[in-house]
Protein backbone atom coordinates (compact mmCIF):
# COMPACT_ATOMS: atom_id res chain seq x y z
CA UNK A 1 0.00 0.00 0.00
CA UNK A 2 1.38 3.43 -0.97
CA UNK A 3 1.21 5.21 2.36
CA UNK A 4 0.72 8.69 0.94
CA UNK A 5 -2.33 10.84 0.48
CA UNK A 6 -2.64 11.78 -3.20
CA UNK A 7 -2.66 15.43 -4.20
CA UNK A 8 -6.09 16.91 -4.77
CA UNK A 9 -7.46 17.01 -8.31
CA UNK A 10 -6.95 20.20 -10.31
CA UNK A 11 -10.66 20.10 -11.17
CA UNK A 12 -11.41 21.09 -7.56
CA UNK A 13 -9.46 24.33 -7.99
CA UNK A 14 -11.24 24.89 -11.31
CA UNK A 15 -14.67 24.57 -9.65
CA UNK A 16 -13.70 26.88 -6.78
CA UNK A 17 -12.21 29.44 -9.15
CA UNK A 18 -15.30 29.41 -11.39
CA UNK A 19 -17.44 30.24 -8.37
CA UNK A 20 -15.09 32.98 -7.18
CA UNK A 21 -14.77 34.56 -10.63
CA UNK A 22 -18.57 34.47 -11.05
CA UNK A 23 -19.21 36.16 -7.70
CA UNK A 24 -16.39 38.71 -8.06
CA UNK A 25 -17.70 39.66 -11.52
CA UNK A 26 -21.17 40.09 -10.07
CA UNK A 27 -19.94 42.11 -7.08
CA UNK A 28 -18.49 44.64 -9.54
CA UNK A 29 -22.10 45.54 -10.28
CA UNK A 30 -22.73 46.69 -6.67
CA UNK A 31 -21.10 50.05 -7.28
CA UNK A 32 -23.24 50.62 -10.39
CA UNK A 33 -26.46 49.47 -8.70
CA UNK A 34 -25.82 51.83 -5.76
CA UNK A 35 -26.04 54.76 -8.19
CA UNK A 36 -29.59 53.93 -9.27
CA UNK A 37 -31.50 55.86 -6.54
CA UNK A 38 -29.39 58.96 -7.10
CA UNK A 39 -29.64 58.85 -10.90
CA UNK A 40 -33.34 58.00 -11.00
CA UNK A 41 -34.20 60.88 -8.64
CA UNK A 42 -32.14 63.50 -10.47
CA UNK A 43 -33.87 66.07 -12.65
CA UNK A 44 -31.51 65.53 -15.57
CA UNK A 45 -30.91 61.79 -15.84
CA UNK A 46 -28.48 62.07 -18.75
CA UNK A 47 -26.36 64.65 -16.95
CA UNK A 48 -26.39 62.51 -13.82
CA UNK A 49 -25.29 59.48 -15.85
CA UNK A 50 -22.48 61.53 -17.35
CA UNK A 51 -21.38 62.66 -13.90
CA UNK A 52 -20.97 59.06 -12.87
CA UNK A 53 -19.10 58.03 -15.99
CA UNK A 54 -16.00 56.98 -13.93
CA UNK A 55 -18.11 54.39 -12.10
CA UNK A 56 -19.38 52.90 -15.37
CA UNK A 57 -15.96 52.89 -17.02
CA UNK A 58 -14.34 51.37 -13.92
CA UNK A 59 -17.01 48.66 -13.94
CA UNK A 60 -16.17 47.92 -17.58
CA UNK A 61 -12.44 47.86 -16.80
CA UNK A 62 -12.94 45.51 -13.85
CA UNK A 63 -15.14 43.24 -15.92
CA UNK A 64 -12.54 43.03 -18.71
CA UNK A 65 -9.73 42.34 -16.19
CA UNK A 66 -11.58 39.55 -14.41
CA UNK A 67 -12.86 37.99 -17.59
CA UNK A 68 -9.34 38.04 -19.15
CA UNK A 69 -7.94 36.39 -16.03
CA UNK A 70 -10.65 33.73 -16.16
CA UNK A 71 -9.87 33.07 -19.84
CA UNK A 72 -6.09 32.89 -19.24
CA UNK A 73 -6.62 30.67 -16.23
CA UNK A 74 -8.63 28.08 -18.17
CA UNK A 75 -6.47 28.31 -21.31
CA UNK A 76 -3.59 26.77 -19.37
CA UNK A 77 -5.36 24.86 -16.59
CA UNK A 78 -7.16 22.59 -19.10
CA UNK A 79 -3.79 20.82 -19.50
CA UNK A 80 -3.03 20.40 -15.80
CA UNK A 81 -3.64 16.95 -14.35
CA UNK A 82 -2.83 17.21 -10.65
CA UNK A 83 -1.79 19.71 -8.01
CA UNK A 84 1.08 20.34 -5.63
CA UNK A 85 1.08 22.51 -2.54
CA UNK A 86 2.79 25.25 -4.58
CA UNK A 87 0.13 25.06 -7.31
CA UNK A 88 -2.73 25.15 -4.79
CA UNK A 89 -1.40 28.19 -2.95
CA UNK A 90 -0.34 30.01 -6.14
CA UNK A 91 -3.88 29.62 -7.42
CA UNK A 92 -5.25 30.41 -3.96
CA UNK A 93 -3.44 33.74 -3.80
CA UNK A 94 -4.40 34.52 -7.40
CA UNK A 95 -8.00 34.02 -6.33
CA UNK A 96 -7.35 36.42 -3.45
CA UNK A 97 -6.47 39.12 -6.00
CA UNK A 98 -9.63 38.18 -7.93
CA UNK A 99 -11.74 38.77 -4.81
CA UNK A 100 -9.92 42.08 -4.21
CA UNK A 101 -10.63 43.41 -7.70
CA UNK A 102 -14.13 44.77 -6.82
CA UNK A 103 -12.46 46.75 -3.99
CA UNK A 104 -9.78 48.12 -6.35
CA UNK A 105 -12.42 49.04 -8.94
CA UNK A 106 -14.53 50.83 -6.31
CA UNK A 107 -11.46 52.80 -5.16
CA UNK A 108 -10.59 53.70 -8.75
CA UNK A 109 -14.16 54.79 -9.56
CA UNK A 110 -14.38 57.03 -6.51
CA UNK A 111 -10.99 58.70 -6.91
CA UNK A 112 -11.16 59.58 -10.62
CA UNK A 113 -11.39 63.39 -10.97
CA UNK A 114 -10.17 63.86 -7.39
CA UNK A 115 -6.71 64.66 -5.98
CA UNK A 116 -6.61 61.07 -4.69
CA UNK A 117 -6.57 59.57 -8.20
CA UNK A 118 -2.97 58.42 -7.70
CA UNK A 119 -4.08 56.27 -4.75
CA UNK A 120 -6.96 54.79 -6.71
CA UNK A 121 -4.57 53.81 -9.53
CA UNK A 122 -1.97 52.65 -6.98
CA UNK A 123 -4.36 50.13 -5.41
CA UNK A 124 -5.73 49.05 -8.77
CA UNK A 125 -2.18 48.40 -9.98
CA UNK A 126 -1.38 46.42 -6.79
CA UNK A 127 -4.43 44.22 -7.34
CA UNK A 128 -3.64 43.87 -11.05
CA UNK A 129 -0.01 42.80 -10.55
CA UNK A 130 -0.42 41.16 -7.13
CA UNK A 131 -0.75 37.64 -8.54
CA UNK A 132 2.77 37.82 -10.02
CA UNK A 133 4.23 38.87 -6.68
CA UNK A 134 2.42 36.17 -4.71
CA UNK A 135 3.37 33.56 -7.35
CA UNK A 136 7.00 34.64 -6.98
CA UNK A 137 6.82 34.36 -3.18
CA UNK A 138 5.03 30.98 -3.21
CA UNK A 139 7.40 29.63 -5.90
CA UNK A 140 10.40 30.94 -3.93
CA UNK A 141 9.16 29.28 -0.75
CA UNK A 142 8.64 26.06 -2.74
CA UNK A 143 12.28 26.23 -3.86
CA UNK A 144 13.54 26.97 -0.33
CA UNK A 145 11.60 24.04 1.12
CA UNK A 146 12.50 21.88 -1.91
CA UNK A 147 8.89 21.10 -2.79
CA UNK A 148 8.19 19.87 -6.33
CA UNK A 149 6.19 22.85 -7.55
CA UNK A 150 5.20 21.80 -11.06
CA UNK A 151 2.12 19.66 -11.64
CA UNK A 152 1.83 16.93 -14.30
CA UNK A 153 0.53 18.07 -17.67
CA UNK A 154 -1.72 16.27 -20.15
CA UNK A 155 -0.07 14.40 -23.02
CA UNK A 156 -1.28 16.96 -25.56
CA UNK A 157 0.39 19.82 -23.67
CA UNK A 158 2.84 21.20 -26.23
CA UNK A 159 5.74 22.15 -23.86
CA UNK A 160 8.04 19.94 -21.82
CA UNK A 161 8.66 20.40 -18.10
CA UNK A 162 11.91 22.36 -18.50
CA UNK A 163 10.35 24.78 -20.99
CA UNK A 164 7.35 25.33 -18.71
CA UNK A 165 9.65 26.00 -15.75
CA UNK A 166 11.68 28.47 -17.80
CA UNK A 167 8.63 30.38 -19.10
CA UNK A 168 6.87 30.52 -15.76
CA UNK A 169 10.05 31.79 -14.12
CA UNK A 170 10.73 34.39 -16.83
CA UNK A 171 7.17 35.70 -17.06
CA UNK A 172 6.77 35.88 -13.28
CA UNK A 173 10.02 37.86 -12.92
CA UNK A 174 9.21 40.21 -15.82
CA UNK A 175 5.62 40.92 -14.68
CA UNK A 176 6.65 41.25 -11.03
CA UNK A 177 9.34 43.83 -11.77
CA UNK A 178 7.08 45.55 -14.32
CA UNK A 179 4.31 45.62 -11.72
CA UNK A 180 6.55 47.27 -9.12
CA UNK A 181 7.61 49.93 -11.65
CA UNK A 182 4.06 50.64 -12.88
CA UNK A 183 2.70 50.76 -9.31
CA UNK A 184 5.42 53.16 -8.20
CA UNK A 185 4.84 55.28 -11.30
CA UNK A 186 1.17 55.63 -10.32
CA UNK A 187 2.18 57.88 -7.40
CA UNK A 188 3.79 60.36 -9.81
CA UNK A 189 1.93 59.93 -13.11
CA UNK A 190 -1.31 58.10 -12.38
CA UNK A 191 -2.72 58.41 -15.90
CA UNK A 192 0.47 57.05 -17.50
CA UNK A 193 0.43 54.19 -15.01
CA UNK A 194 -3.23 53.51 -15.76
CA UNK A 195 -2.38 53.44 -19.47
CA UNK A 196 0.37 50.87 -18.83
CA UNK A 197 -2.06 48.80 -16.77
CA UNK A 198 -4.42 49.00 -19.77
CA UNK A 199 -1.65 47.65 -22.04
CA UNK A 200 -1.11 44.71 -19.70
CA UNK A 201 -4.86 44.00 -19.73
CA UNK A 202 -4.96 44.19 -23.53
CA UNK A 203 -2.03 41.74 -23.74
CA UNK A 204 -4.04 39.13 -21.83
CA UNK A 205 -7.13 39.51 -24.03
CA UNK A 206 -6.28 36.49 -26.15
CA UNK A 207 -4.32 33.99 -24.04
CA UNK A 208 -4.21 31.43 -26.86
CA UNK A 209 -2.30 33.89 -29.02
CA UNK A 210 0.14 34.65 -26.17
CA UNK A 211 0.58 30.96 -25.56
CA UNK A 212 1.19 30.42 -29.29
CA UNK A 213 3.96 33.01 -29.22
CA UNK A 214 5.65 31.23 -26.32
CA UNK A 215 5.42 27.97 -28.27
CA UNK A 216 6.98 29.36 -31.43
CA UNK A 217 9.80 31.00 -29.42
CA UNK A 218 10.46 27.75 -27.58
CA UNK A 219 10.62 25.86 -30.88
CA UNK A 220 13.00 28.49 -32.31
CA UNK A 221 15.21 28.30 -29.21
CA UNK A 222 15.24 24.49 -29.46
CA UNK A 223 16.16 24.49 -33.16
CA UNK A 224 18.94 27.08 -32.50
CA UNK A 225 20.20 25.21 -29.45
Amino acid sequence: MNNRLKDISHKLIDSLSDGIFAIALTLLGLEVVSLVPEISRSEDVLHSLQEHLPVFSSFLLGFVVLFSWWYSYHATSQYVLNTTVVVVWSHGFTLMWVTLMPFAIAMLAQTVDTPNLKWGVFFFSICLHGQYWTNLIVGGLGMIFKVDGLPRFAEDFPLDKEQVQKWIFLSTIVFSVGGILVTTLSLFYPLVSLGLCGLLILSTFNPNQGFGRILSRSKKANSNG
Binding site: M1, N3, G19
Partner: protein, 217 residues
Protein backbone atom coordinates in the same frame (compact mmCIF):
# COMPACT_ATOMS: atom_id res chain seq x y z
CA UNK B 1 -34.61 1.66 1.57
CA UNK B 2 -33.78 5.11 0.25
CA UNK B 3 -30.12 5.22 -0.73
CA UNK B 4 -27.72 7.81 0.70
CA UNK B 5 -26.98 10.89 -1.38
CA UNK B 6 -23.73 10.66 -3.37
CA UNK B 7 -20.55 12.27 -1.99
CA UNK B 8 -20.29 14.34 -5.19
CA UNK B 9 -23.49 16.25 -4.24
CA UNK B 10 -21.94 17.45 -0.97
CA UNK B 11 -18.68 18.32 -2.74
CA UNK B 12 -20.57 20.41 -5.34
CA UNK B 13 -22.38 22.28 -2.58
CA UNK B 14 -19.05 22.89 -0.86
CA UNK B 15 -17.64 24.54 -4.00
CA UNK B 16 -20.47 27.06 -3.98
CA UNK B 17 -20.24 27.72 -0.23
CA UNK B 18 -16.46 28.20 -0.24
CA UNK B 19 -16.52 30.44 -3.35
CA UNK B 20 -19.23 32.69 -1.96
CA UNK B 21 -17.71 32.92 1.52
CA UNK B 22 -14.25 33.72 0.17
CA UNK B 23 -15.60 36.43 -2.15
CA UNK B 24 -17.86 37.98 0.51
CA UNK B 25 -14.73 38.82 2.52
CA UNK B 26 -14.15 41.77 0.20
CA UNK B 27 -17.44 43.51 1.10
CA UNK B 28 -15.88 45.07 4.18
CA UNK B 29 -13.02 46.42 2.10
CA UNK B 30 -15.42 47.97 -0.43
CA UNK B 31 -17.25 49.66 2.44
CA UNK B 32 -13.98 50.93 3.92
CA UNK B 33 -12.88 52.04 0.43
CA UNK B 34 -15.65 54.62 0.18
CA UNK B 35 -14.83 55.88 3.69
CA UNK B 36 -11.16 56.27 2.78
CA UNK B 37 -11.78 58.05 -0.52
CA UNK B 38 -14.12 60.57 1.11
CA UNK B 39 -11.75 61.28 4.03
CA UNK B 40 -9.83 64.57 4.21
CA UNK B 41 -6.49 62.84 4.72
CA UNK B 42 -6.47 59.80 2.45
CA UNK B 43 -3.32 58.19 3.86
CA UNK B 44 -4.28 58.70 7.49
CA UNK B 45 -7.71 57.16 6.80
CA UNK B 46 -6.05 54.26 5.00
CA UNK B 47 -3.51 53.64 7.77
CA UNK B 48 -6.24 53.73 10.41
CA UNK B 49 -8.05 50.91 8.58
CA UNK B 50 -5.13 48.46 8.50
CA UNK B 51 -6.97 45.96 10.75
CA UNK B 52 -9.64 45.54 8.05
CA UNK B 53 -6.97 44.63 5.48
CA UNK B 54 -5.15 42.32 7.91
CA UNK B 55 -8.42 40.61 8.88
CA UNK B 56 -9.22 40.11 5.17
CA UNK B 57 -5.85 38.35 4.65
CA UNK B 58 -6.29 36.18 7.74
CA UNK B 59 -9.86 35.29 6.73
CA UNK B 60 -8.70 34.40 3.24
CA UNK B 61 -5.97 32.10 4.59
CA UNK B 62 -8.47 30.47 6.98
CA UNK B 63 -11.05 29.70 4.27
CA UNK B 64 -8.44 28.58 1.73
CA UNK B 65 -6.80 26.27 4.32
CA UNK B 66 -10.14 24.74 5.32
CA UNK B 67 -10.97 24.22 1.62
CA UNK B 68 -7.62 22.51 0.96
CA UNK B 69 -7.87 20.30 4.04
CA UNK B 70 -11.51 19.52 3.26
CA UNK B 71 -10.62 18.19 -0.22
CA UNK B 72 -7.40 16.45 0.89
CA UNK B 73 -9.57 13.93 2.75
CA UNK B 74 -12.83 14.53 0.88
CA UNK B 75 -11.40 12.84 -2.23
CA UNK B 76 -11.35 9.52 -0.32
CA UNK B 77 -14.91 9.47 1.05
CA UNK B 78 -16.86 6.69 -0.66
CA UNK B 79 -20.28 6.95 0.91
CA UNK B 80 -22.40 9.37 2.86
CA UNK B 81 -24.65 8.87 5.87
CA UNK B 82 -26.74 11.34 7.83
CA UNK B 83 -24.00 11.94 10.44
CA UNK B 84 -21.37 12.66 7.81
CA UNK B 85 -23.73 14.92 5.84
CA UNK B 86 -24.57 16.97 8.93
CA UNK B 87 -20.90 17.19 9.90
CA UNK B 88 -20.25 18.60 6.42
CA UNK B 89 -23.16 21.02 6.75
CA UNK B 90 -21.74 22.20 10.08
CA UNK B 91 -18.41 22.77 8.33
CA UNK B 92 -20.22 24.91 5.74
CA UNK B 93 -22.00 26.72 8.57
CA UNK B 94 -18.65 27.73 10.10
CA UNK B 95 -17.28 28.67 6.66
CA UNK B 96 -20.25 30.96 5.98
CA UNK B 97 -19.68 32.58 9.40
CA UNK B 98 -16.05 33.43 8.66
CA UNK B 99 -16.86 36.67 6.73
CA UNK B 100 -18.80 37.76 9.85
CA UNK B 101 -15.85 36.79 12.09
CA UNK B 102 -13.46 38.68 9.81
CA UNK B 103 -15.75 41.70 9.82
CA UNK B 104 -15.94 41.94 13.63
CA UNK B 105 -12.21 41.31 13.85
CA UNK B 106 -11.42 44.03 11.30
CA UNK B 107 -13.61 46.52 13.12
CA UNK B 108 -12.82 45.39 16.65
CA UNK B 109 -8.99 45.48 16.66
CA UNK B 110 -7.60 48.46 18.62
CA UNK B 111 -10.97 49.14 20.26
CA UNK B 112 -12.13 48.33 23.83
CA UNK B 113 -14.10 45.43 22.30
CA UNK B 114 -11.03 43.77 20.77
CA UNK B 115 -11.14 40.86 23.25
CA UNK B 116 -14.67 39.98 22.18
CA UNK B 117 -13.90 40.34 18.48
CA UNK B 118 -10.93 37.95 18.80
CA UNK B 119 -13.03 35.66 21.03
CA UNK B 120 -15.84 35.26 18.48
CA UNK B 121 -13.41 34.86 15.60
CA UNK B 122 -11.72 32.07 17.56
CA UNK B 123 -15.05 30.39 18.32
CA UNK B 124 -15.78 30.28 14.56
CA UNK B 125 -12.23 29.10 13.79
CA UNK B 126 -12.22 26.18 16.21
CA UNK B 127 -15.93 25.23 16.34
CA UNK B 128 -15.49 22.54 13.69
CA UNK B 129 -13.03 20.33 15.63
CA UNK B 130 -15.30 19.07 18.45
CA UNK B 131 -18.19 18.53 16.02
CA UNK B 132 -16.04 16.48 13.62
CA UNK B 133 -14.66 14.51 16.57
CA UNK B 134 -18.20 13.74 17.71
CA UNK B 135 -19.25 12.84 14.14
CA UNK B 136 -16.40 10.32 13.74
CA UNK B 137 -17.26 8.77 17.10
CA UNK B 138 -20.99 8.54 16.30
CA UNK B 139 -20.27 7.10 12.82
CA UNK B 140 -18.15 4.40 14.40
CA UNK B 141 -20.88 3.68 16.95
CA UNK B 142 -23.73 3.49 14.43
CA UNK B 143 -22.08 2.31 11.19
CA UNK B 144 -18.84 0.72 12.41
CA UNK B 145 -16.66 3.48 10.93
CA UNK B 146 -16.09 5.75 7.97
CA UNK B 147 -16.54 4.39 4.43
CA UNK B 148 -13.45 5.28 2.43
CA UNK B 149 -12.45 4.47 -1.17
CA UNK B 150 -10.22 1.38 -1.70
CA UNK B 151 -7.19 3.57 -2.55
CA UNK B 152 -7.23 5.25 0.88
CA UNK B 153 -3.61 4.74 1.87
CA UNK B 154 -3.98 3.64 5.49
CA UNK B 155 -6.07 1.40 7.71
CA UNK B 156 -9.35 3.27 8.26
CA UNK B 157 -9.68 2.22 11.91
CA UNK B 158 -6.18 3.51 12.78
CA UNK B 159 -6.90 6.69 10.82
CA UNK B 160 -10.11 7.28 12.81
CA UNK B 161 -8.24 6.78 16.10
CA UNK B 162 -5.51 9.25 15.19
CA UNK B 163 -8.02 11.73 13.77
CA UNK B 164 -9.98 11.67 17.03
CA UNK B 165 -6.78 12.24 19.04
CA UNK B 166 -5.76 15.08 16.70
CA UNK B 167 -9.21 16.67 16.83
CA UNK B 168 -9.23 16.31 20.62
CA UNK B 169 -5.90 18.14 20.86
CA UNK B 170 -7.16 20.86 18.48
CA UNK B 171 -10.34 21.23 20.55
CA UNK B 172 -8.36 21.66 23.78
CA UNK B 173 -5.89 24.03 22.08
CA UNK B 174 -8.79 26.00 20.60
CA UNK B 175 -10.60 26.16 23.94
CA UNK B 176 -7.48 27.45 25.71
CA UNK B 177 -6.56 29.98 23.03
CA UNK B 178 -10.13 31.28 22.70
CA UNK B 179 -10.31 31.69 26.50
CA UNK B 180 -6.91 33.41 26.42
CA UNK B 181 -8.36 35.98 23.99
CA UNK B 182 -10.37 37.45 26.88
CA UNK B 183 -7.14 38.09 28.80
CA UNK B 184 -4.62 38.84 26.05
CA UNK B 185 -6.23 39.30 22.64
CA UNK B 186 -2.97 39.93 20.73
CA UNK B 187 -1.36 36.73 22.02
CA UNK B 188 -4.49 34.76 21.12
CA UNK B 189 -4.47 36.29 17.64
CA UNK B 190 -0.83 35.22 17.16
CA UNK B 191 -1.70 31.68 18.29
CA UNK B 192 -4.67 31.61 15.87
CA UNK B 193 -2.34 32.68 13.05
CA UNK B 194 0.18 29.95 13.93
CA UNK B 195 -2.64 27.40 13.84
CA UNK B 196 -3.75 28.65 10.41
CA UNK B 197 -0.18 28.67 9.02
CA UNK B 198 0.49 25.12 10.24
CA UNK B 199 -2.62 23.92 8.40
CA UNK B 200 -1.65 25.45 5.05
CA UNK B 201 -0.11 22.21 3.68
CA UNK B 202 -2.65 19.51 4.65
CA UNK B 203 -1.37 16.85 2.22
CA UNK B 204 2.15 16.82 3.69
CA UNK B 205 0.71 17.15 7.23
CA UNK B 206 -1.48 14.11 6.61
CA UNK B 207 1.37 12.19 5.01
CA UNK B 208 3.50 12.76 8.11
CA UNK B 209 0.58 11.54 10.24
CA UNK B 210 0.17 8.48 8.00
CA UNK B 211 3.88 7.66 8.40
CA UNK B 212 3.42 7.89 12.16
CA UNK B 213 0.35 5.64 12.03
CA UNK B 214 2.31 3.11 9.96
CA UNK B 215 5.19 3.16 12.45
CA UNK B 216 2.79 2.50 15.30
CA UNK B 217 1.42 -0.45 13.29
Amino acid sequence: MVKNIPVSKVLSLSDGVFSIAITLLVLDLIHVGSEITSARDFNEALASKWPVFAAFTLGFLVIASIWYDYHALGQYFAETNEIWVWEQIFTFFTVTLIPFGVSILGQGVNTPNMNWAVFYFGVILFARSPVTLLAIYLTRLKYGGLRMTPDFPVNVRAFENFSMVGLGITTVYGGLVVSLSLINAWLALILYSIYVLVRMAPISNWNNTLKFIEKRG
